[in-house]
Each structure stands twice: as structure tokens, then as C-alpha cells.
């Protein structure tokens, strides 16, 4: 029995920026004089070196200290330990870190820095309210015909300046994650508010749109063989030089010239594209005036995409399709098509070359390679999950059961699911990297989805015990993140293990209400130890709250010391990191 944790409204940062010379900067800020703070005997670690602090201001009981490398907020009465001392840094919270003056404005502060000013507000925001704000931002800025990954901004921090295009290698994964969050949101509203409540109906539309966008990726290539595209572009979107792209024309698809296609010798290759895209899914582009002949899709799809697709189809089928039989049927044919493709190709996803794609291999021949041996623990779990999901969605056992039993009994796949930690650790010894520090963070979500599917669908006690053991083998590395998107699915899968809800609460409380990918300054932090990594680079030694660390999807090291991949102030990411975790938790009763 889950005892719900009460997520209270919590302070959230909102920062508005003004460059030097902007008339909106109050004149008195420019000449404002602060005293130097007296920090001798200060009882907590401070983000800046004590001697670097030059200015001090108070808003009520809150004290603000300005230094040459950022702003510190001190609330000695804060209810939660991690909120006592907060750090604000550029470019996320400030234009630059060199604080010249701090001027109180009620509970808020104006902060003058070298290159301008920031107006910092701390607003009480509820966890659901934050999910709504983030969803609105995603729908308004990030969504690309229902697909959500990230969008580039023409102008720094200006969300209205988002370019209309922008794809991701993992549009299928990210959109599936987003879709799952929205499916849980819909199911929660339906349960709590009733099916006909306007909020529920609105949630249904959003969730359905997300599911359709995902399903379209399983058909857009028109190959008719159950393949899955990574993403697709329409006629007016530029084709990036990043991977293998096919342009569809009159039932054929031609491989476009890219560095990869030239390298692989497939530039100009023409393949079949005559299969029909289901009309309901095609509406996502036809309603915008495009036809199939306007489509360019991306191939060489990875297991990341497939794993996300399958679990997303499970939840869509269970929670959404019950009110939408047509959607249910689309999910069914999509799952069957994809599953058949994998089975028919020896447990691999084969591309137009007749060979497996780079990263979608679940076969023993892959597991018997040096790299595949390590991957086997995760990929075996993925394939078993696909089969269980397919059985569930189709309501049939037959072929799926035969393959499942074959994998379990003849090929040892269920046993292999337990071996993640052991095999990766062994690889770390021969590769001379440190497990669990130097790890592939992108695998975390894959493991969570694969094992959540397995642990919630498998009814055989012996197999369930293996899958739980397999999930626990990931715990050491998952625990480094204290991410509810991982920990909550883990909690329903392995209910005998304890989850630290206080740490999860911190994550919800301290996630910003925008997914602008502006970074933070960790290099000058005096209160955060740094660690040299065995393979080079550095890592911070403690897990900072999300609003003080680099932004990421479910794919990056949250302990990154430097983050070149965050995109910075000209990129907005999708809301799904937050909304998936929050609505999953709400749906399963972890939160009030």
C-alpha cells in the first residue's frame, strides 16, 4: 500500500534580464550601495569564497550576498535543509556572475552585474501547477507536429523566437516519454475529476496527439515492414548533415547526400516506400498541407526508440485506447508490425541494407560480441519486455509466447537480465574506467522502461524475481541521480525497496518552471567538491538541486562539471523530464 507523499507548494525562481542600458533597469540600482557582508562563523558552506562576497541585502528574513561569481540567498528559517543556502549564477539566473549591487524590492531583488541586471522573484508554485506551466511552454514552443525534443531560439532567452523546425535523433524516445506523462495525466484526471470534466477532455486531446505523433514514426517510412523511423521532416525543414535521411517520392524513398550516407556508400540508394500511412496518423502532416511526397525521414533507428515506443504503446493502449477503439487498433497494428519485424530479422531491427541498424540488436550474435556481451543484460530485458507488451496489447499469446519462452528457456535471456552490474563492472576493469562514475547515462531510462514493463507484466514468480533482481542491478547507478522519473517506476516494480521521498521531493521542488537550457556556473563554486574522472574530465561530487545544475533530459550525467551539450540560452527542451515523473507519481498514488 503506497502512502502518498504530500508535495507542497514551493519557492521557484523566476528571473528577468535587462542588458546594460535597458531603460527598465531602475536608476537607483545603478548607484545602489550595499554593505559588505560579515560572514565570519557562517554556519553553512557558502557557494562563493567568503572573501569574494562584496555586497549584502535583506528582504524580510532572507539575506542576499553578492560575490564576484554569483549570488547567494540565505534563509536561515527554511523548512528544508537544501533551501537554506541557494546559489544563483549565470547564465541561468544572471547575465553574468560579477555582482555589483543587490537592491531589495519587496520580497524580490534587483541584481546589478557587469553586463546588466536581473530581477529575481521567488514564487510559491505547486507541483501540478509547475507541470502545467512546463506543458504550456512545450506545446507553445517545443512541439513539432506533436513531436517534442527541443527547439532552437533565434534570440537568447526569447521563447517567442523559436525556429519552426528542429529535429532530434531521439524524437521517438523523447516524444514517447512525453506521451506517457500525458497519458498518466489524462488517466489521473479521469479518475479524480471524471471523464467528462473539461480538464480531462483537454488532457485526452494532448495525450492522444502525442501518441499519434509517436505511432506515425512507425509508419512514416512507408516501408511496410514494421521498421521505425527516428524522426521525420517536412518539405520546408532543412535536412541536417547528421545520419541517414530518405526523401519519399511517389512510392520510393531516396537516400539523401550526407556525410554518413557517403561514408556508407548509400547516397542515392532508392528503396520501396509504397506502403500507406494510416490516414488518422497522416493527418498530422496532411492537415498542415503536406503530402507523403513532402516527407523526409531518418533511419538507422536505435533500441532507445524501440523501447520507448513499446512501453508508451502499452500505457496508451491500457489508459487511452479504452476510450478510443480506433486508436487501440492503430496501436495494435503498430506493435504487431514492429514485433514481427524484430522476430523476422533474428531479433534485430534491420535497415534498408538488410543489415541491423547500429544500435537496435537483441540477438545472441550481438551478445556474443565484446560490446554486445555487456549490452546483453539491458537488451535482453528490452526484447522480453517488447514481447510481454505485444501479448498484452494483442491479447494473444501464440507466436509471442513461443518466442518469449524460447528466449527465456533456450537462450537464457531472463538470466541475462540480472547481469548488468557484473558485466559492466567487468568491462570497467578491462577498460580501466570507474564504474559507476563513467557510465552511459542514456541507458538509465532504457533500463527503467524495460524493467518496469517486465516487472509489472510478468506474473510468473520465478521470472518476476529475476526481473526484479535485474532492475536492482541498475540501482547503484540509478541512485546517483535521485530522479523520480527513475525511482518511481522502480518503486512500483520492486516494492520491497525503500525510496527516499525527501530526495524526490527536492527534485520536484527545485526543478525550474522553464526548460530553457541555460547553464549554471559550477567552476567557481566553493561549496561543491570536484572529482577528476578516470577517463578525463571532471564531475561534481554532490548531486545539486536541479535548479543549480545543468539541464538535461533523461540522458545526461547530472553530476557534470561542465556541460557542452545543454544548448545554453538559445535552446528550450521539452517538459517531459518533469511531467513524466510527476504524472507517473500522481497516477500510481505516490503523491497527493
Amino acid at each position: 500500500m503506497i502512502k502518498p507523499y504530500k508535495l507542497k507548494p514551493h519557492l521557484c525562481r523566476f528571473c528577468t534580464f535587462y542588458k546594460t542600458g535597458d531603460s527598465k533597469i531602475p536608476a537607483e540600482l545603478l548607484t545602489f550601495k550595499n554593505e559588505k557582508p560579515s560572514l565570519e562563523g557562517f554556519p553553512y558552506p557558502l557557494p562563493s569564497k567568503k572573501s569574494d562576497y562584496t555586497c549584502f541585502a535583506k528582504t524580510g528574513d532572507i539575506e542576499w550576498y553578492g560575490a564576484s561569481n554569483g549570488l547567494t540567498r540565505y534563509d536561515k528559517n527554511a523548512e528544508r535543509e537544501e533551501d537554506i543556502v541557494m546559489y544563483f549564477s549565470a547564465p541561468r539566473d544572471l547575465l553574468d556572475n560579477n555582482i555589483k549591487a543587490i537592491m531589495p524590492d519587496g520580497d524580490n531583488v534587483w541584481v546589478l552585474t557587469e553586463t546588466g541586471a536581473a530581477y529575481i522573484e521567488m514564487k510559491l508554485i505547486g507541483a501540478e501547477e509547475k507541470a502545467d506551466i512546463l506543458l504550456d511552454e512545450t506545446l507553445r514552443v517545443v512541439s513539432r507536429r506533436g513531436m517534442v525534443s527541443q527547439k532552437q531560439l533565434k534570440e537568447a532567452r526569447n521563447l517567442d523566437s523559436a525556429v519552426p523546425y528542429g529535429h532530434s535523433d531521439n524524437d521517438g524516445s523523447f516524444t514517447s516519454g512525453y506521451a506517457m506523462g500525458e497519458i498518466f495525466r489524462y488517466a489521473t484526471f479521469k479518475r479524480e475529476k471524471g471523464a467528462d470534466h473539461p480538464d480531462t477532455l483537454k488532457a485526452k486531446v494532448i495525450a492522444t496527439n502525442a501518441v499519434e505523433a509517436n505511432l506515425l514514426l512507425l509508419h512514416i517510412h512507408s516501408r511496410g515492414n514494421g521498421f521505425a523511423a527516428r524522426t521525420y521532416l517536412c518539405a520546408d525543414e532543412p535536412v541536417p548533415d547528421d545520419g541517414l535521411f530518405f526523401r519519399i517520392t511517389d512510392g520510393k524513398a531516396t537516400c539523401l547526400e550526407t556525410t554518413d550516407s557517403i561514408k556508407k556508400g548509400v547516397n542515392g540508394v532508392v528503396i520501396d516506400a509504397s506502403a500507406e500511412v494510416p490516414a488518422r496518423l497522416a493527418k498530422l502532416y496532411t492537415d498542415l498541407g503536406y503530402t507523403i511526397n513532402d516527407i523526409v525521414y531518418k533511419a538507422d533507428t536505435s533500441s532507445d526508440e524501440i523501447t520507448h515506443h513499446f512501453l508508451h504503446m502499452l500505457y496508451a493502449y491500457e489508459l487511452l485506447a479504452c476510450d478510443d477503439p480506433e486508436l487501440g487498433e492503430l496501436i495494435k497494428i503498430s506493435a504487431v508490425g514492429l514485433m514481427n519485424h524484430i522476430i523476422d530479422h533474428g531479433y534485430e531491427l534491420h535497415d534498408f541494407t538488410g543489415k541491423p541498424t547500429s544500435w537496435a540488436k537483441w540477438s545472441t550474435r550481438y551478445f556474443n560480441t565484446e560490446f554486445g556481451w555487456v549490452d546483453g543484460a539491458l537488451n535482453s530485458a528490452q526484447l522480453l519486455m517488447y514481447l510481454l507488451v505485444t501479448m498484452r496489447i494483442t491479447g494473444e499469446q501464440g507466436k509471442w509466447r513461443e518466442h518469449y519462452d524460447h528466449l527465456v528457456n533456450d537462450l537464457g535471456y531472463a538470466d541475462m537480465t540480472e547481469k548488468h552490474f557484473d558485466r559492466l563492472y567487468q568491462a570497467s576493469l578491462s577498460g580501466e574506467f570507474i564504474f559507476v562514475e563513467d557510465i552511459m547515462y542514456g541507458d538509465h531510462m532504457l533500463a527503467v522502461l524495460a524493467f518496469t514493463g517486465l516487472c509489472t507484466l510478468e506474473k510468473d514468480e520465478k521470472l518476476l524475481a529475476k526481473y526484479r533482481k535485474g532492475f536492482k542491478a541498475w540501482r547503484t547507478s540509478l541512485e546517483r541521480e535521485h530522479n523520480p522519473g527513475y525511482d518511481l517506476p522502480y518503486a512500483i516494480s520492486c516494492p520491497d525497496d525503500e525510496i527516499d521521498f525527501e530526495r524526490l521531493a527536492e527534485w520536484f521542488y527545485r526543478t525550474n518552471a522553464s526548460r530553457l537550457a541555460a547553464g549554471v556556473s559550477l567552476e567557481g563554486r566553493h561549496d561543491v567538491p570536484v572529482k577528476n574522472m578516470k577517463l578525463g574530465g571532471k564531475e561534481i561530487s554532490i548531486l545539486l538541486p536541479p535548479d543549480e545544475r545543468f539541464i538535461s533530459k533523461y540522458d545526461r550525467n547530472p553530476l557534470d562539471y561542465k556541460n557542452e551539450d545543454s544548448g545554453g540560452v538559445t535552446v528550450v527542451e521539452s517538459c517531459y523530464v518533469y511531467t513524466f515523473a510527476y504524472w507517473f507519481g500522481r497516477y500510481y498514488g505516490f503523491f497527493e
Binding site: D422, Q426, D500, H526, V530, K531, I542, L543
Partner: protein, 823 residues
């Protein structure tokens, strides 16, 4: 399938065992010379050898030979293993000792050979604590070779090759030697090689074959080398000269699904944790003293011009590390060797004493203890420092622990009144001194001292006419057989001298559930010094008889009941001390033991269902079944029982390492009087010497608590029991420091400061080693103004973390090697 047999040419060298260290040192020189010759004579041969201290001997005595070895190491012909000073006992050294074993050794290897050891290697050590994977990882080692216990002693531990995990999440790839670490001679080779070959075929992975004359050294002989070459030419193609490093590298490249073990590796020599009490006591004392003295040197050097003593501490720790060698620390070497051990540990502790004294006096000299008028002209009698009757005498009390401690401390003169620096009277008592001179009285007073800090107290001499009588209020009361305070009431049995009732007054819970503090004598005739093949000491041959029981002190600070027992020609005197507001009984013991082949145990019994025994181990604790097997532990053991409301009693000791727990009774093994180095009890008639014969002085404490051991606060209590407050008489002077100060703040009670020292590279950077003690993950805030540092640290359960703080106060997380090697 890779079924290669890796031939590991080695020489197991016991620097002390059935010989003294001088002979061991000579043997190291000879063995190393021989090994160099073998490498030159036999193509492809690789020699493996552990223990940095041996290399250091060779470097100092035979630099030419050392230079040859350096070249061979560079070529991969000579492989140093085990980045520790010796192959220590792997149960009794503290977590900090394991850190020092790695620190001094790996840095030595790095300096001399340009690389550190990748493989841990303790082939003869008698048991391996459950946290060893972490302690090895932190010292740069991720693979491990061990042998004991053998399969006949513990068949549950996986054979051959397995993953060994510790509770913090660390892991080492471990090879368990199946037969012997020093095969030599044709017969033994012929017997072992086919067995290893069979194992390789059955497991599907390679095995290591350790050959070379060992224990007293020697290494591979020409005869053995020639015979192995013959075997290679005649059907044993799978034989290959190798090293543990190469073996593990090859195993890691193979795709192996190996078993996982996540417990300790016990038991082989269960008697080793109690034999020869002297070496145990010296080790405990030296470990704490050195760690504490180095903390004070660091503090003092940061705030004054006191020189850093890093090099001196290195010298001292290396002595301690050497004496942790398994045959020394386990008490199974010859009697004469322990004279050397005493000298060596004395040297180490003299360094600790010197450095601690210098540091404390330096700090004390900076404290403002000036009292107006104190320099006015007075009679000589009134001005004598210890007898300044007109003014109170300042005593500065130092607390080396990383948490505030309030406990009684002793100074060597009687007092009329004691005040803290705010002028508040504190509880004190004039107690009988150890001397028979002047007043015969010392002062015991309550000091409350902040974390890694000091507090100044003011003692008015008992003869002073300038202060009125002061009667401190106290919660202590006593009569002939009862002592109590507001928390505890202990009632002694006038017949047995044991405790017949121990009650926590707040809840009225009775903790005596059977035999309790009645000293018990156990037969030790059959076991040899190690107690080979014997895992329980359960043949009780008698109880010590009560000779006297008396109330010897009953004051404001404490009450003391003295219980004297006798047995044969031996006696045990125990002072049961209950201090004001204390939740534990401290027991000061003096034993004169003259009973050959006996064991003395001190039992406590708690009634209730589901008894669980818990013991401190390096960097953590472990729960073990209450099956009566003798168990190693560090400073405390605990028995907890009860169906719903659990209750327990912990025994804390300042010198002991061994317990057993048959059912609901936990027994501290106070001494074990075996014949020195009695191997398999082969005893010709002789006038033997016994390893625990004579006078023993030590202390233990009895701590009753509700709930499980790990939530009882036992870790803090045992830390302060072994890291006592130190009282320094100060003069009257102006100073820049306040009368009370803490030099560190750690926000979580389950984070303990194990080391506070300067970096070994001479940079002046400060090192801080912290350890989680309660088995629960936590984030802690650490503030240390003298290092200009304040930082947060996340700990997994039982995790040990080392931080390096630069001159600007920026912090880097490193490991035992202080970031020197990684740079």
C-alpha cells in the same frame, strides 16, 4: 574457453613469525637477490612480491639490488602487488589504518616505480572484513587475491574467481587460492597442477598457480623452475609465466558470468583476535593517538607557526602498519618478537605524544586566559602554578572527536570549585589519585567541549581561601551494591559480583536477562595460538570467585563500585564507574593472569526473541548470527533481542578485538592465554611462556539501549571512549583565541572525521577523511574555517571519502592516495 594456468612465481615472506624482524629483513634481501637471478636465468619468468616495507628495506640496505629491481619492474618482469605496507591482518586494523597502509605504500611504489599496485594481495591473512572491497578500491586496487578461509573452513564463499561486494557498493574481482600460496618441490607441484588444470576446465576460466618457497621467504628454486620448464615441454602447454595483474586483466577480457559474494570472508584462525593482548592494546592506542595527534598538528599548524609534522606521522604510521602484519597483530609470533613490537609501537606513540603535546600547547598558548590581577605580587606559595590560591587555574580541555563531547576529565590536583569560561559551576569531584604523595587527590570534572575543539575550565585549588565551598548538584547516588543516576540504575549481586539488575529509569526496562559481568574462565587447552580448526571457545571451566565488593566513590561526578574476583593464582579488579548523567557504565579493569591455556570472558545477557549480534568492523558494522562462534570486531560488540520492543547491550572496549555470542549472551574475550606461536598444538615438554600471562590494564563500557545497535548512538560513544578528552594545564596569558572554540562543524551525526592532515606532497593542502557510520546514506555539510573551507558531501552507507582542500579552500574529492597519483 580459456583454461590457461598462470604461474605466479612468488615468495611469501613473513617478516616476523617464528623469528624476529632482523632475520625477516635479511631473508627479504636474500629472496629478492634470488628472484632477480631467476629472472635473469629463465626467459619469460615474472616474479611477484607484495609489501612496500620490504622494498624499503632493500632500498636502504642494498641500493644496487633495488636499482636492478626498479629496472625489472619497468620491464614487467617484477610485479609489486598489494599496495599496502605489509600483508596485514584484515579484521583488526581500523579503517584509517587501511587508509594509511595504502597511502604510504602506493605513494612509495609510485615514487620508486612510477606506478601503483593494481591488485590487493593478502594470501596468508586469516580473515577479511566485509568492507575490504571499499578499503581496497580507495587505495587504487580493484582486484584481490586471498586464500583463507579455505573451502574446508567456509564452503559457502565462492571458489576460484568471484565478485566480492562491500555494503557501500564497492567491488573487487577476487581470486581465492584453492590450495596453497607457496607450492614448491616436485611432489607438491605434481599434486597441485592437475587439480588446478581440472578447475580451469570446469570453470571455463584460467587459474593461478602460486609457486616458490615461502613463509620464511626463498621464492622459486632453480629445481622448481627447471621442473616447470620440463612440464611446459611435456603436455602442460597451458602453463604460462604470469602475474596476478596479468591474470586479472585476462579474466576481465573474457566474458565471464561470475558468482557474487557480499559478506565477510571468515573464519580461519578464530583465536587470533584475542591472543597476545599486548599487541592489540598497543595497536588500538597507537591508531587513535596518531590520528588525533595529527588532527591537532594540522589545526595548530594552520593557525600558528607550528611546523607541519606530516613526515613524522608517516614514520610513526609505518611502524603501526608494519606491526599490523598478520602474524604480529594476530599474536601468533614468538615471544621475543613482541619485545621488538613494543619498542616499535613505543616509537610510534612517542611521535604521537610529542606532536600532540606541541600542538596543544601551541594552541593553549594562543588562548586568552588572562585574569586581571593575576600578575600582582603574591607569596611564592600562592604563585606556584598548581597552587595559585587567589585565582582559578585554567585548564584547556581538547576534544579530538568531530562532535561535541561532554564527559568527565581528570587533572592531578584537588579542587574546591570548577567553573567553565562563562563562570558557571560545573560538576566535579576530588578522587583518589594514583600517587601516594601530597593530597592523594585528583580532580574529576565535567567538561563539555565542541567538535575538534577546546574549552577552558577554571579550577580553584582545594586549599584556596578566596572561594567559598561549592556543593555541586548531581544525579549520582550509590550504596554498597547499587549505583544510579537519572538514566541508569545498576544493582550488583553480593554473591557473584555480577550485575543482577541494570535498568534504564525513563522506561523502567530491565537489561539483565541472565549472566551479566560474571567473569568466566574457558578452557584453551586444545586450541593452538591461532585456534586452527576451532571456531568456538565454549568449554567453560569455571567462574571467577568474588573476593570483595565495595563502594569506593560516591560523589557528585561519579560513583564507583569496586569488584574483585579471583581464580587460581589470578585476580581481576573491576571499577564500575557511573558518571553523572551518563548512559553507560565504564569499567576499569586490572587483571593479573597466571592461568595457562585459559580464556577469560566477560558476559552480558539480554533476554528476548530473535537475538542479533552486531559488531563494529573497519568503516562499518556487521550483523552476525548468535551461534557462539568467536568473532573479530573493532571497538564494540552488541547483543540486541526482543520480539516487538527491541533492547540491547553493547560492550565497548579500548583494547580488545574478540567476542562470541552464544544465544542471548555476548561475551567480550578479555584475554586468551596460549603458548606463543603454538602451531597445531604440537607441544614438547617445556617451560612455556604464555602470551597473556601477567598484568593487564584496560577498560570496557556497558551500554544498554533501546532499539537496534546501529540506531543507539553506539558509534559515537565508542569513538569518544577510545578518543578521550585531553586536559592541558595552561598559564595566564593574553591570546588571540577565545576560551572555547571548534575547528570543524559536520552537520550529520553519522559522519565521522577519521583524518585531518596535510597532503603528503608537501603542497600544504589539507586532507580530510570522513566516514559514514550508521549504515544510511546522507548528505553532510562540513565547515572548517581554518582551512577556509565549507562544502557538502554525499555519502552512501558506510562510505569513506577523502577530500583535499587547497590553500584557497576549494575542495577536491580524492581517495586514499590524496590526488597525488592521479595528477
Amino acid at each position: 574457453m580459456n583454461n590457461k594456468l598462470h604461474i605466479i612465481g612468488n615468495a611469501h615472506l613473513d617478516p616476523i613469525w617464528l623469528w624476529r624482524w632482523q632475520e625477516g629483513c635479511g631473508e627479504v634481501l636474500q629472496t629478492f637477490r634470488c628472484a632477480v637471478d631467476r629472472i635473469k636465468q629463465y626467459k619469460g619468468f615474472v616474479f611477484t612480491c607484495s609489501s612496500a616495507s620490504y622494498y624499503k628495506w632493500v632500498e636502504e640496505i642494498d641500493p644496487e639490488l633495488f636499482e636492478e629491481i626498479r629496472k625489472l619492474v619497468k620491464k614487467g618482469k617484477w610485479v609489486p602487488v598489494n599496495g599496502w605496507w605489509v600483508q596485514p591482518d584484515c579484521n583488526m586494523p581500523s579503517a584509517e589504518s587501511f587508509a594509511r597502509q595504502a597511502l604510504y605504500s602506493q605513494l612509495y611504489y609510485y615514487e620508486k616505480f612510477g606506478k601503483i599496485c593494481k591488485t590487493g594481495y593478502n594470501v596468508d591473512s586469516f580473515g577479511h572484513n566485509a568492507m575490504l572491497p571499499q578499503l581496497l578500491n580507495n587505495g587504487g586496487m580493484r582486484c584481490y587475491v586471498m586464500m583463507r578461509p579455505g573451502m574446508h573452513e567456509n564452503p559457502e564463499i565462492p571458489e576460484n574467481l568471484f565478485w566480492w561486494d562491500s555494503a557501500d557498493g564497492s567491488r573487487v574481482l577476487t581470486y581465492r587460492i584453492p590450495y596453497s600460496y607457496c607450492v614448491n618441490g616436485k611432489n607438491d607441484i605434481d599434486r597441485e597442477l592437475p587439480l588446478l588444470k581440472e578447475r580451469a576446465e570446469n570453470t571455463g576460466h584460467g587459474m593461478m598457480f602460486f609457486f616458490g618457497v615461502g613463509n620464511h621467504g626463498g621464492g622459486p628454486t632453480k629445481g622448481d623452475m627447471d621442473y616447470i620448464l620440463e612440464l611446459m615441454d611435456n603436455g602442460y602447454e597451458e602453463l604460462e609465466y604470469s602475474s596476478p595483474d596479468d591474470y586479472f586483466e585476462e579474466m576481465c577480457a573474457d566474458r565471464l558470468d561470475l558468482p557474487v559474494w557480499n559478506d565477510e570472508l571468515q573464519h580461519h584462525a578464530s583465536g587470533c583476535y584475542s591472543a597476545t593482548s599486548m599487541v592489540k592494546q598497543l595497536n588500538r592506542k597507537a591508531e587513535y593517538w596518531l590520528a588525533n595527534a595529527e588532527k591537532w598538528n594540522t589545526v595548530s599548524a594552520k593557525i600558528s607557526n607550528l611546523p607541519k609534522a606530516t613526515e613524522e606521522f608517516g614514520k610513526a604510521w609505518k611502524e603501526v602498519c608494519f606491526n599490523q602484519f598478520h602474524d604480529i597483530f594476530c599474536g601468533c609470533s614468538i615471544m621475543e618478537a613482541y619485545d621488538d613490537v613494543r619498542d616499535s609501537m613505543g616509537y610510534a606513540m612517542k611521535i604521537a605524544a610529542n606532536e600532540e603535546n606541541k600542538a596543544m600547547l601551541k594552541i593553549a598558548g594562543m588562548v586568552d586566559t588572562w585574569l586581571d590581577g593575576v600578575s600582582d605580587s603574591q607569596s611564592l606559595n600562592a604563585r606556584h602554578h598548581c597552587r595559585n590560591l587567589k585565582f582559578p587555574r585554567p585548564i584547556i580541555v581538547f576534544n579530538p572527536n568531530s562532535f561535541e563531547v561532554e564527559t568527565p576529565v581528570r587533572t592531578y590536583h584537588p579542587s574546591k570549585k570548577v567553573e567553565d569560561s562563562n563562570g558557571n559551576s560545573v560538576i566535579f569531584q576530588n578522587v583518589r589519585s594514583s600517587r601516594s604523595n601530597d593530597s592523594h587527590l585528583d580532580t574529576v570534572f565535567f567538561a563539555k567541549v565542541p567538535a575538534l575543539g577546546y574549552a577552558t575550565y577554571w579550577l580553584w585549588h582545594a586549599d584556596s581561601e578566596y572561594i567559598g565551598e561549592y556543593k555541586a548538584k548531581s544525579d549520582v547516588s550509590a550504596n554498597e551494591l547499587t549505583i544510579e543516576n537519572k538514566y541508569l540504575k545498576a544493582v550488583f549481586d553480593g554473591e557473584t559480583g555480577g550485575i543482577k539488575s541494570l535498568v534504564t529509569k525513563a522506561d523502567g526496562v530491565e537489561y539483565v536477562g541472565g549472566e551479566f559481568c560474571i567473569p568466566t574462565v574457558v578452557d584453551n587447552t586444545e586450541p593452538d595460538t591461532w585456534a586452527h580448526n576451532i571456531f568456538k571457545f565454549d568449554k567453560v571451566i569455571g567462574k571467577m570467585s568474588l573476593k570483595s565488593i565495595e563502594l569506593v566513590e560516591n560523589g557528585a561526578a561519579r560513583a564507583v563500585i569496586r569488584v574483585k574476583h579471583t581464580y587460581g593464582g589470578s585476580y581481576l579488579t573491576q571499577d564500575f564507574i557511573l558518571a553523572a548523567e551518563s548512559r553507560h557504565l565504564r569499567v576499569k579493569c586490572k587483571v593479573l593472569w597466571q592461568e595457562a591455556l585459559t580464556i577469560l570472558k566477560m558476559p552480558v545477557t539480554v533476554d528476548g526473541e530473535n537475538p542479533v549480534s552486531t559488531y563494529e568492523i573497519p568503516a562499518g558494522f556487521i550483523k552476525r548470527p548468535c551461534n557462539g562462534e568467536e568473532e573479530p570486531a573493532l571497538t564494540w560488540g552488541d547483543i540486541t533481542a526482543g520480539a516487538d520492543s527491541r533492547k540491547g547491550v553493547a560492550l565497548i572496549s579500548d583494547a580488545k578485538y574478540s567476542y562470541d555470542c552464544p544465544g542471548n549472551t555476548l561475551r567480550l574475550t578479555m584475554l586468551r592465554n596460549s603458548i606463543f606461536a603454538d602451531h597445531y598444538s604440537d607441544r614438547p615438554a617445556a617451560d612455556f611462556n604464555y602470551c597473556d600471562e601477567g598484568l593487564h590494564r584496560f577498560e570496557y563500557a556497558i551500554y544498554p539501549h533501546a532499539g537496534e545497535a546501529e540506531t543507539s548512538g553506539i558509534q559515537k560513544l565508542s569513538a569518544q571512549f577510545n578518543s578521550r578528552l585531553v586536559a592541558i594545564p595552561a598559564g595566564y596569558h593574553k591570546g588571540e583565541l577565545p576560551r572555547e572554540k571548534s575547528f570543524i562543524s559536520i552537520s550529520k551525526p553519522n559522519i565521522r572525521l577519521d583524518a585531518f592532515k596535510f597532503c603528503e606532497d608537501g603542497s600544504g593542502d589539507v586532507m580530510m577523511r570522513l566516514c559514514e557510520t550508521d549504515g544510511r546514506a546522507v548528505r553532510a555539510a562540513i565547515v572548517c574555517d581554518i582551512a577556509d573551507a565549507g562544502f557538502y558531501a554525499d555519502f552512501r552507507k558506510f562510505e569513506v571519502k577523502t577530500f583535499r582542500i587547497d590553500s584557497e579552500g576549494y575542495v577536491k574529492e580524492t581517495d586514499y592516495l590524496e590526488g597525488i597519483v592521479e595528477d
